[in-house]
Symmetry: C2
Subunit: 143 residues, 2 copies
DNA sequence: GTCCTTATTGTAACTTGTTGCAATAAGAAA
DNA sequence: TTTCTTATTGCAACAAGTTACAATAAGGAC
């Protein structure tokens, strides 16, 4: 999957969607951040670039970009969504006691995907995955 | 994991937490529904049983019960959370075109859990998993 | 039963996210 | 370029979810 805003912009147009200033700015913001952003964070940065832009536009575009696979959404432990440019995807595992979070690559889920596709006949295109537990340090203390 | 409201109520007290009317009513509502409920749905039903109850109490209790493992939360494709009594857990795989949803048992994720625990040293206690893709019928049509 | 501690609740104000609809502007066609 | 179509936007009102803090009530001690 390609990941520069320019390339994504071309793809959006090739798919017959319109490339608006708002949409392009959101792609640039996500790309420049280099990580996860909440809709509110995107809105705050977008508001600097394009002062007239409103929240619904941010939410609608994030959802649009996600639905069509141009960006990824990951769900936080509290159930909120964070968005990022699709580069190489990763997931989080958070300690419920000390909050220590480690990341693991998407590719570790590949065997699971293959198995699910085989079982169900579906072709998988999106997934939201969050894990929580106890890190080695806190594990001994129990809950 | 046990799953009747009465048993869960005992567990809550054994852990040193207080068993309030609100908390017990929420457990009963989730149990009676037999499936997933959104916080709003819980609130609407709770409002009938205990007219004075407010939204923050619902959200706080659902989060409390989830954090301590008395109930499960599953994240919907749109990023919202739905709650259910812990019986045997399952997950969803939804077609992005026709919306057809199939369920698969939690146990299919067990090999993944084992692997993650081995890799990371963490003990896993919670996970939120949602998959989307294209069902066999829609798959041929492409996206 | 009464008293005490404090976890839990309700209230009010707030933030975040959504929806309907008219106005706008992107992209195609002439 | 100008015109046309309609996807996308901004606006306004609303729905969902959160937070701070004082009031309440659960559960233990007596």
């Amino acid at each position: 999957m390609t990941c520069t805003p320019t390339h994504l912009a071309s793809q959006i147009q090739e798919h017959g969607f319109r490339l608006t200033r708002q949409r392009l700015a959101i792609l640039n913001i996500l790309y420049d951040s280099g990580g996860h952003l909440t809709p509110t964070e995107v809105f705050q940065r977008l508001h600097v670039l394009l002062p007239g832009v409103t929240e619904p536009t941010v939410y609608r575009n994030l959802d649009f970009l996600r639905q069509h696979g141009f960006i990824h959404a990951t769900s936080t432990p509290s159930g909120r969504l964070e968005y990022q440019i699709v580069t190489h995807s990763h997931h989080h595992l958070t300690c419920k006691i000390c909050g220590a979070t480690i990341e693991f690559e998407d590719e570790h889920l590949q065997p699971l995907f293959a198995r699910l596709e085989e079982m169900t006949g579906y072709h998988l295109s999106e997934h939201h995955v969050t894990f929580m537990g106890f890190c080695p340090q806190c594990k001994s203390k129990g809950e």
